[in-house]
Each structure stands twice: as structure tokens, then as C-alpha cells.
Symmetry: C2
Subunit: 234 residues, 2 copies
């Protein structure tokens, strides 16, 4: 960089990316939270709002992508900054997907609103969503503070989400078997549960990206991908 | 670029990205195809092979990402090349997800292999997979030839996939309602169908990326995101 002036402009550009990511993170969290609220309360209006809210997330992702390309083209980013910029592209893509998953839950509220569901099924979904949202908050904090001190826990806690998802899945199956009239609605709830479990996966992706941005390394102690291959999938 | 020598090295680097994407595309297609074969034939060995095959896709994605970062850092890519490089990162991420979805189908074969399923359900899944794989082939051809002449059709045909998915979904629900003993296995098939429908979405994403690489513009006549918001989701 040739001058402080340019240095500052450059820093501002990087800051723009970080700010958009922060916006996307808060927005995606709120969408998921409100989608679950809408589901539990059979609140079709809130669900429609969540669906509409997804637009802002798509826009923000385009902003991040466009700005990232401009920054790379204009500056000659060093390794650190380049990781930061490519990392922003990745994180915004994960957050956009989290928003999509929240939107998908919201869309199901319309299909579900006329069938009364047993309250304990919602409790399970709420608890699962709470876990996933906590994960998301942690990784977004880690991104904002560039701190990887507690980031290893995120991946470990993803196992808790998987375990809770499995138990909820079995509960939903039982409920379907008890009464065939529950099948259509429980199928929606199965997909909602799956969506929340996927949100946890995206939080883990973000954790790995943040770790790479901050340290330049791959996150250690990654569970081998084959680990789960012999597990029965549900 | 200062010399033919460097020009060639640069071209080779871009070629490396394109080759890895071509490998990933072929590999992901084969994984999905074999996962469906394994499902229909209850072939657990083939399913395990598909699960193991996913490793190569993850590796190739890391290759693309690492190489893309190195190219950007070393060269000062112009707008065209930058779109090409960022596009490669995006496409490899979509293909890695396609592989994951194929792997997820393969994992379910183990859970499904001891329950006999009616053959017509498999036929529906096969037909759906065929449509999604055709889409994938088209967009990979478009990427390889940098031709966007027929790429608009890909997004239109994604509607066919959605319609076929919806019909298969209803069929599976009916089958679950007829006999509660079908519920657990049909739930797996529901998720398989959903995975295939998602593969179609990734093909559409890739179409949009290829369009952007080739033309520098966003793909026109995009269906407004809200279009589907009032549709009942299944």
C-alpha cells in the first residue's frame, strides 16, 4: 500500500465485508428464530414475514460477493487479507443457506397451521433450534472478534445437535405410526428438524472458515469424514 | 502479463481449475447415479463405495480453493479471469454438495436394505434422479464449452423436477398412510427424493454461475424469489 489514505480506504473495504456478514448473521438468526416461533404459534403472518425477509439476505450475499471481487481486483491482497476476503464469500454463502432453511421452515407453517400438533413435538423442535442458534451466535462472535479460543467446542457441540435430531426424528416416526392422520404434518416437522440440523452444519462450516481466516491453518482434530459412514442415517 | 512464458503458466493454472471442476462434475454425477442404483438393488456394497468416493470430491474442492487463492495472490486477474476463478470456487462448492447429497442417499441404503419396497416407488426416484443428472450434465457441458446458448432451459426444467418431486412425495405419503409399517422406510425415501430435488437446485446454481462467468451479467428472467412463497411447500 502506498499511502495511509489508501490503507484506510482498503481497511474500510474490508470493514464493509465484515459489516455485511454481521448484518447477515443477525438477520439469519432472527429468521430462524421467528420461523420456529411462527411454527409453534401457527402464526401464518409471521411465517410470511420470514419468507419475505429472505430477500435482504440474498441481496447482502450479492453485496459481499460483488465487493469481494472488486477488492481483489483493485488491491493485491496479501495472504492474510485474501483469506479474509475469500472467507467472507464462504461465510456469506453459509448464512444465505441458513436463511433459506429458515424460510423453508416458515413456508411449512402455512401447510401445518390447520392441523393441531402435540405440544411436545414443538418443544423438541424449539430445543433443537435453540442449540443450533447458540452455535450460530458463537461462530459469529468468533468471526467478529477474530477469536478462535472456543471455536473447537462448536464442532463438538454439533454432535449434541445430531443426537437431539435423531431422538426427535424417532419421536416423530412413533407419532406417525400411532395415527396415520399425523403422517402428512409430521413429515413437515421431520423436514423442519432436518433443516435445523443443517443449520448446525452451517455453523460448523463457519467455525472452520473463521479458524482458517484467523490462523491460516485447517481446523485441527477434524473428525474423519468416514466416521459416520457406518452409522445408520436418519 | 509480461511474457508468453508467464501467460502460459497462468493459462495452465486456469486450466487446472477447469480440469478439477470437470473431474468433480463427473465424479459427483457417478456418485449420484450409483447411489440410486444401490438403492434400487439394495446393494449395500455399492452404497459403501459411494460413501467412500466422497473423499475424492472433498479433496478436489480443497484443491480448487487452494489453487484459486494462489492464482489470485500471484497474478492480478482482470475482471474476466477473476469471474472465472471465483466461479470455479462456487461451482466446486455446489458439486461438493451434490456429492454429499449422493452420499446421504447411499447411507440410507443400509437402513433400507432389509425392508422390501414397492418397485414403483423406486421407478419414481430413478426418473427424478435421471432428470436431475441430465440437468447436471447440461450445466457441466455449458461450463466446459463456455456456452450459454441452452442454459436458460436448465432453470425452466428445474420446474419439472419440482413437479415430479411433489408427485413422488404425495405417492410416498399415501403409501405410509396405507400401512404404518411403511413409515420408517418411506421416510428415508422422502429424504432421498428431497436430496435429488436439491441436486436439481445445485445444477441451477451452477447454470447461474456459468452464465455469469461467460457474460459478466446475472442470468436474466430469474423467477422472483417470492413466486413460491404462497405455494404450499412439501
Amino acid at each position: 500500500m502506498t499511502s495511509d489514505h489508501i490503507m484506510n480506504a482498503y481497511d474500510q473495504e474490508l470493514k464493509f465485508l465484515a459489516n455485511r456478514i454481521a448484518f447477515m448473521g443477525g438477520h439469519a438468526e432472527r429468521m430462524v428464530d421467528q420461523a420456529i416461533q411462527a411454527l409453534v404459534a401457527a402464526n401464518v403472518d409471521l411465517a410470511r414475514k420470514v419468507v419475505a425477509d429472505d430477500m435482504a439476505l440474498d441481496e447482502a450475499q450479492r453485496d459481499v460477493d460483488d465487493k469481494a471481487v472488486i477488492i481483489i481486483a483493485r488491491r493485491q491482497p496479501m495472504a492474510d487479507d485474501l483469506r479474509e476476503i475469500i472467507g467472507a464469500i464462504r461465510i456469506s454463502s453459509d448464512l444465505e443457506r441458513v436463511g433459506d432453511l429458515g424460510k423453508n421452515i416458515a413456508k411449512r407453517v402455512v401447510s401445518l397451521s390447520d392441523a393441531a400438533q402435540p405440544i411436545q413435538l414443538f418443544r423438541g423442535l424449539e430445543a433443537l433450534a435453540q442449540l443450533a442458534l447458540t452455535q450460530l451466535k458463537e461462530v459469529l462472535d468468533a468471526y467478529a472478534t477474530r477469536s478462535v479460543a472456543r471455536i473447537g467446542q462448536v464442532r463438538d457441540r454439533d454432535d449434541d445437535i445430531d443426537a437431539m435430531y435423531t431422538s426427535l426424528f424417532r419421536e416423530l416416526l412413533t407419532y406417525m405410526m400411532e395415527d396415520p392422520r399425523n403422517i402428512a404434518s409430521c413429515t413437515h416437522l421431520l423436514f423442519c428438524a432436518k433443516n435445523i440440523e443443517r443449520i448446525g452444519d452451517h455453523a460448523t462450516n463457519i467455525a472452520e472458515t473463521v479458524y482458517h481466516i484467523v490462523t491460516g491453518d485447517l481446523m485441527p482434530a477434524e473428525r474423519p469424514k468416514e466416521d459416520k459412514s457406518h452409522k445408520v442415517v436418519i
